[in-house]
């Protein structure tokens, strides 16, 4: 998977704005002049020697391809794309017209001479442009060597032809057969050999370019591939056309524009160049609108979006409503959404791609987005990464909070289960044994009575009383640990029994006479029990207990009168809080709200 470096920041490596604008105007005018001049020459001296002069179609093809590249170059620079790419497009567009200018045989000799030299540079410039796409920088050493070698060969070939090719004695000449002001010495055989070598070197380089482009497309992610194809695809067609041209010229020697095969090849390469120009332009424009949208998000980060806000902002910026962000929590080894809820690991699906975003070398989030979107790694700058990191940290806190809540609730449940079991154990164990003991003592007393042993009978009667008292104590203890009626019949009967034995008068208003989850009932019950006990200790003379369900919450209110200050009931507040509820004290009114949905 290919990760491109961030695009050059706006303003970097730029000429001062006014000069840059002037240069752009100049470049545009030059392009127009080059095109206009070329068309004029094609209509005149180049009528039979250039593709543009051959037919109206030839003229249109030549202009579209050349002007397209000039426009692409200007747009690239203007829209904040790579300046290098813009320059390369512009130059490739200008040199595209050179073969036509070389046909201006009755013009100033300098122009056909320069045009002949310049014509050899169109393809090296395009190779450079394509290899450097989309950033404008050639990043791998192999690609750099490739581009440099190609430029060097073109330079050497152009220099050799300029110095030693005498157009008069070139059997392959057509457009320019009489002008070369750079000629030092006429060496026709050398010139011929250089031309042939140059043609086949170019064909080989074209083949290499096709191979490089194919490999690059193959290893790119889908969005990267979608972004590469509009430029790389036409470039491959252009290269294929060059190979075909080399093969044909090996046979026909002279590049005669009226040769149908050669014209077809020319038409293909013109169309390819025009498409390449269009691809370059649209890519730059689209990248700019995306960069601006993402910059807007960065600017709005001050407003601290709500959890998930960054997701919707990115989704609208990238025009991808289905965009999802999963935050990586390294300590939990899991992905969560913005609210801290666990989500499954983001996976590539048909039409969706996953980009893992890093900050300071650590993964912070995985963004699942449409294949059609560009490689968002390019577009997301440090400000948004900071925003993502903030959201990740918040998600982590929320996840911890959720876990903490669950664990508190589990602790309460476990404690209640222990209480319940203890209560049962007391009833089934100790109480049964005390009952058996009481039965045995009664039998013994009856026996003593039958024997007429008055002393023993008296002592055993005392023992009967004591066992009864012990049973009574045990029953109270078990009831205090966990009333059986609470488990069997629910909150209302349990509170009624609590009121029966309360140390102060208690009025009950129970509007919630149905069953709730065990821990909800237990929490409500123990809340009332503790408040009543504390209120009685503080000298309260009356209490009213109101239980009602409000929405998803069981609301238990105890109003007391005549009580002195009651110390904070921390354990009760903890217990209520553990279930996601609250304990609110308002004067002499205590309210526990417990979620019961």
């Amino acid at each position: 998977m290919e990760h491109a470096e961030p695009a050059v920041a706006p303003g970097r490596l730029r000429a001062p704005p006014r000069l840059a604008a002037a240069l752009r105007v100049a470049a545009g005018l030059t392009g127009l002049a080059a095109a206009g001049g070329a068309l004029a020459i094609a209509a005149g001296p180049g009528q039979f020697t250039t593709y543009a002069g051959r037919s109206a179609a030839g003229a249109v093809l030549t202009s579209c391809a050349g002007l397209g590249m000039v426009v692409a170059g200007l747009v690239t620079v203007t829209a904040g794309g790579s300046r290098r790419a813009g320059d390369l497009s512009l130059l490739a567009g200008l040199t595209w017209f050179a073969p036509v200018w070389a046909a201006w045989q009755d013009g100033p000799p300098l122009i056909p001479s320069i045009a002949t030299v310049a014509a050899g540079f169109t393809f090296p410039l395009i190779v450079h442009l394509v290899v450097a796409h989309p950033t404008g920088q050639v990043r791998t050493a192999a690609a750099r060597i490739f581009v440099t070698a190609f430029y060097s060969e073109a330079l050497v070939a152009a220099a050799a032809l300029a110095l030693f090719r005498n157009p008069y004695s070139d059997p392959g000449c057509l457009a320019n057969c009489n002008v070369n002001i750079f000629l030092v010495r006429s060496l026709p055989r050398l010139a011929r050999a250089v031309e042939t070598f140059d043609r086949w070197f170019t064909a080989t380089a074209a083949l290499a370019l096709i191979a490089m482009c194919t490999a690059r497309l193959a290893r790119s992610s889908l969005p990267a591939r979608n972004r590469l194809l509009p430029v790389v695809g036409p470039a491959m067609i252009f290269a294929a056309a060059l190979i075909a041209r080399a093969a044909v010229l090996q046979v026909v020697t002279v590049e005669y524009p009226f040769n149908p095969t050669l014209f077809t090849i020319f038409a293909a390469s013109s169309c390819a160049l025009a498409l390449l120009a269009a691809g370059q332009t649209s890519g730059v424009v689209r990248a700019r609108s995306e960069r601006r949208a993402v910059a807007r998000i960065a600017a709005s980060l001050d407003e601290a979006p709500a959890p998930g806000g960054l997701r919707s902002a990115l989704a609208s910026a990238l025009r991808d409503p289905g965009l999802q962000i999963a935050y990586w929590l390294p300590s939990w080894r899991r992905y969560v959404d913005a609210s801290g809820e666990k989500v499954s690991e983001p996976a590539v699906r048909p039409g969706r791609t996953v980009t893992r975003l890093t900050r300071n070398g650590r993964i912070i989030a995985a963004v699942t987005h449409s294949d059609a979107a560009p490689d968002i790694d390019d577009h997301i700058g440090p400000a948004i990464r900071l925003g993502l990191e903030n959201e990740r940290l918040r998600a982590e806190l929320l996840a911890q909070l959720t876990e903490l809540r669950a664990s508190r609730a589990r602790i309460v449940r476990a404690a209640d289960a222990v209480r319940r079991r203890l209560e049962r154990d007391l009833h089934d164990g100790a109480q049964q044994q005390l009952l058996a003991l009481s039965y045995d003592i009664r039998l013994a007393r009856a026996a003593a009575q039958a024997d007429g042993n008055g002393q023993a009978e008296l002592a055993l009667a005392g023992a009967v009383e004591e066992t009864a008292a012990a049973l009574e104590d045990l029953r109270e203890l078990a009831h205090g640990i966990y009333p059986a009626v609470l488990a069997d019949a629910g909150i209302a009967p349990a509170l009624a029994t609590l009121a029966d034995a309360a140390p102060l008068p208690v009025d009950l208003a129970l509007a919630a006479d149905r069953r709730y989850p065990t821990q909800v009932e237990a929490t409500a019950y123990f809340a009332v029990a503790e408040v009543l006990a504390e209120a009685a200790r503080a000298g309260a003379d009356h209490a009213t207990v109101i239980v009602a369900q409000r929405g998803e919450r069981l609301v238990v209110t105890v109003k007391v009168t005549g009580a002195g200050p009651i110390p904070p009931m921390v354990a009760l507040a903890d217990r209520t809080g553990a279930l996601g509820g609250s304990l609110i004290t308002n004067g002499d009114e205590y309210t526990a709200e417990i979620p019961c949905g």
């Binding site: 049962r424 009833h427 089934d428 109480q431 049964q432 009952l435 058996a436 009481s438 039965y439 009664r442 066992t467 009864a468 049973l471 029953r475 009831h479 059986a484 009626v485 488990a487 069997d488 019949a489 009967p493 009624a496 029994t497 009121a499 029966d500 034995a501 309360a502 140390p503 102060l504 008068p505 208690v506 009950l508 009356h542």
Partner: protein
């Protein structure tokens, strides 16, 4: 009198059976769970069933459920529920759901054989039996000043015995007064508390218990 005993603790079952046998009652069957109880009641047609409130499998209110089933299939059989809980809720639920001849006694009470036999006889006479501990708890409940404070000491005694399920005649015997005197007390009490007198002993007990729990 023929009795069936249901309690999942064998020691308790055996103890009760021995006490009753010694007191001259006939124990027709001893069982450990509600299903066997219903089968035994069907097979032996006893006068009364003594039923533990907590039995397998859930150890919650199997006894009360079994009481319903006995009453549905054999309306003549008295049911005495034994419980380890001083829990008016269970007692009142029993009275509310089963008209007549039901009782709710604390377990330790039954080892006092005189108590147990008395309770069974009262049930056979059509009375209701509520454990005195429960009534005492309700009588002692903390209240704001109200109609109960207007009762005389003797009237309070009568009220407690009413709540325990005693008939006027039984109250008269207990207090060594004439039945007519008791009737006068009952009329007084009901007037002061604003309750309507009901000749049905069972409903009278329930009304008194409900009043003691939650005076309207």
């Amino acid at each position: 009198m023929r009795v069936v005993i249901a309690d999942d603790v064998m020691l308790t079952r055996e103890g009760i059976a021995r006490l009753l046998t010694d007191a001259g009652l006939h124990v027709a069957a001893q069982v450990g769970d509600a299903t066997s109880l219903l089968r035994a009641v069907g097979a032996t047609r006893p006068d009364a069933a003594i039923v533990d409130i907590r039995m397998p499998p859930t150890h919650t209110d199997e006894g009360i459920v079994a009481a319903h089933q006995i009453r549905a299939g054999h309306p003549g059989v008295s049911v005495l529920i034994l419980s380890q809980y001083v829990e008016p809720h269970y007692a009142m639920r029993l009275l509310d759901e089963l008209p007549e001849r039901v009782g709710y006694l604390l377990k330790e009470r039954v080892f006092d054989v005189a108590n147990l036999v008395d309770a069974l006889r009262r049930l056979a006479d059509g009375e209701t039996v509520i454990d005195p501990t429960i009534v005492a708890r309700l009588m002692a409940r903390k209240r704001r000043v109200g109609p109960l404070d207007e009762l005389s000491g003797r009237e309070r005694e009568v009220l407690a015995l009413l709540a325990e399920g005693l008939s006027n005649r039984a109250i008269a015997a207990r207090l060594y007064v004439t039945e007519r005197t008791v009737e006068a007390h009952v009329k007084q009490i009901f007037q002061k508390l604003g309750l309507t007198t009901d000749p049905d002993s069972h409903r009278r007990v329930l009304a008194v218990l409900a009043y003691l729990r939650n005076p309207a």
